[in-house]
């Protein structure tokens, strides 16, 4: 066992973990942060995406011991005082999901993308979330959601109003 100290969604934790424990299993099983899901377990699908020191990573491909001394943000930590993060709100409003299983990872990857590129084009969104798979083929509305959120996050222009979600 190795002791780690890590901040997750703003709270400090100190735990003993086996070196082989994957970050996603630590989050889910030791901290109960089940909002972060395991999709493929092969580093492909991106459903387990969280932010490690501000950068999106696949938490099935990081060891929990590697998060020692770091700040982890999961899907459970991005709303503030009951107000959804603009990316969560946009996925809701644009209906950027069908079954919802990929959504936590999609949202965390999309926030990371918009942090780097505040006004991504349609193609840039699609490339930016290439590490996240949606098996319901809901990509159209996901792209719309990311662009709406990007507009709101960068100061609230209305560039995405004309896009609209398909009813």
């Amino acid at each position: 066992m190795t002791q780690i100290s890590v901040r997750v969604d703003g709270a400090a934790y100190s735990d003993d973990v086996e070196p082989r424990t994957l970050l996603v299993h630590y989050l889910r099983e030791q901290l109960g942060k089940v909002g972060t899901v395991v999709g493929c377990d092969t580093s492909n699908c991106g459903a387990c995406t969280v932010h490690l020191d501000g950068e999106a990573v696949k938490s099935c491909t990081v060891l929990a011991v590697q998060a020692d001394g770091s700040e982890v943000t999961t899907i459970e930590g991005i709303a503030s005082n009951g107000t959804l993060h603009p990316m969560q709100k946009a996925f809701h409003e644009m209906h950027g999901l069908q079954c919802g299983f990929c959504t936590p990872g999609m949202i965390m990857a999309s926030i990371d993308l918009v942090n780097d590129n505040p006004n991504p084009s349609d193609d840039e969104v699609r490339e930016g979330i290439e590490g996240n798979l949606c098996r319901c083929t809901g990509y159209q509305n996901i792209v719309r959601a990311v662009q709406q959120a990007a507009a709101e996050m960068s100061g609230g222009s209305t560039a995405s109003e004309t896009l609209g979600a398909q009813a």
Partner: protein, 285 residues
């Protein structure tokens, strides 16, 4: 899927890392970004006794400039490569190929040196390093040595790194003259490995192509230089016809594999087509 149990060491200096590797037992794996190693450990294709994690070895990160080369620390992440001004200025081919590696999340963790030391024939960076005539600085307990790219890649997933050694940094010589570069990759879907890819560098002198270097990804167990193409493009007029005629030599001397993605003869065809495209772009035609 959970990796088999292992002992974990997290050194903070190169010397500590070498000591940890030396004292780690029979089966030690050095972990860079872990984006290839953790997946194979999850599948238990690898079950090392000890993992030596380089993530906290700060001296292995970053890019610096020397008089005749830029020097890339082995633990510099793909994301850092993409935003590095020295790479953008002296070796934009590295950034262009790195942009095609996996996806954003993997590029945040995965490292330049890790990808090279892993030496997957379908990986994008080995052929780029080979085409750039990069040099590999390797540290061991007995000291350091430098290995040219042409000798670094030995076989499938096998490099000149000996047991107990560590890839420390990669020296990329500065190019002189007017060079164009391009990485042309063919893959099935986003984040898939290259079926075949071609790294091309072209030095122009006015209306002529003075010299060309071509690196091939996934045309054998190691990255290869397309020597026949290079020989056909020494001091020739820069025309699409000359490039196409030279590219026809791209598959000479290669030994591509057949797998679910492509048969060997299709890979040979791809090498020719992609070489023509890559050299055409790099030559500014």
């Amino acid at each position: 899927m959970i990796p088999a149990a292992f002992a974990y060491a997290r050194p903070t200096t190169i010397d500590e890392a070498l000591q940890a590797v030396a004292s780690g037992g029979e089966d030690v794996k050095i972990m860079a970004g872990g984006q290839s190693l953790i997946p194979v450990m999850r599948l238990r294709l690898a079950a090392p006794e000890t993992v030596v994690d380089l993530i906290k070895v700060a001296e292995l990160r970053g890019v610096r400039e020397e008089e005749d080369a830029i020097v890339i620390g082995a633990m510099t992440t793909h994301s850092d490569v993409l935003s590095d001004p020295l790479i953008a200025r002296y070796a934009p081919l590295i950034a262009e190929a790195t942009e095609t590696v996996a996806d954003r999340q993997v590029r945040h963790r995965g490292t330049f040196g890790g990808a090279l030391a892993h030496a997957d024939p379908a990986g994008d960076l080995p052929a780029v390093a080979l085409a750039l005539d990069a040099e590999f600085v390797i540290a061991g307990l007995a000291g350091r040595r430098t290995v040219p790219a042409a000798e670094f890649f030995v076989d499938y997933l096998t490099t000149a790194l000996e047991e107990g050694e560590l890839l420390v940094e990669i020296r990329v010589p500065k190019l002189h003259g007017t060079w164009g570069m391009h990485y042309e990759k063919f893959n099935r879907v986003a984040q898939a490995w290259s079926i075949v890819a071609v790294a091309a560098l072209v030095r122009r002198e006015g209306a002529r192509i003075a010299e060309v270097r071509v690196g091939l990804t996934n045309m054998g167990p190691t990255p290869l230089r397309a020597a026949g193409v290079e020989a056909a493009l020494v001091d020739v007029e820069a025309t699409p016809e000359a490039v196409a005629a030279a590219a026809a030599h791209a598959a000479e001397g290669t030994t591509p594999s057949s797998d679910l993605n492509a048969q060997a003869d299709y890979r040979e065809h791809l090498a020719i087509v992609l070489t023509r495209r890559a050299v055409t772009v790099a030559a500014g035609l």
